[in-house]
Symmetry: C2
Subunit: 149 residues, 2 copies
Amino acid sequence: MAASSSSSSFSKPPCAACKFLRRRCLSGCIFAPYFPPEEPTKFVNVHKIFGASNVSKLLNEIPAHQREDAVNSLTYEAEARLKDPVYGCVGAITILQRQVFTLQRELDATNADIMRFASGTGAPRGSGSGYDDPNSTDYWTGKGQDGGI
Amino acid sequence: MAASSSSSSFSKPPCAACKFLRRRCLSGCIFAPYFPPEEPTKFVNVHKIFGASNVSKLLNEIPAHQREDAVNSLTYEAEARLKDPVYGCVGAITILQRQVFTLQRELDATNADIMRFASGTGAPRGSGSGYDDPNSTDYWTGKGQDGGI
């Protein structure tokens, strides 16, 4: 009995969140399943951008089976914001949006080439075919282009 | 003199951040230029996801001419997280990444069609042309596909 009551030194180590916040990592800790002690930076980054309290609230509002995905997306956003404090992961959205625009324009032009081949008027592609005004308005401002997602 | 010293009722209203945080909006308030009183929701959303203290720290670390862009991207991220607590704006990244993959595959197949037309072997496109394994690993997990952004 004495051995079991003094066995705290044999209990598992606190999760990265509780260790960072210098608090006891109790059974049922909302952070523990997603912030293991071996990955301290993951929590530090998420805490720095969102704050431990906000992350805790968010996780408590999400069904347990979706919490890992939520932590992964928060981690991704936090890392992106630390790398790029101005645009964060919205920078990636802007770049991807431009890629979609460029690829769609190229695909339309290539399809037009095929139509010309098929109709026997296989003239070289006109440089002005497709969209003439890329006007790649930033996805996240919602101006101009329809975000649609 | 008496009139000017009691003229606080004629001063401009506090910014949305200071009003929400119930504090005096002093000259040089870091939030004031980006969170006008007419848009109270903008600050409420950003505060709910990132916390006023984190936003203030972030803005203070960014050159003044980039702060508006930073607030816009934070606002976008906050709104996306409120709409989709699990994936936030990373959901948009995943969708855009899949669009890029699909468009690239379609463009490659269409270019192959053109090559067939040009070489006089204009056979119909094989259904299995292009990439057979979309393996659209989520952009933000960094697994499989090279994020590259």
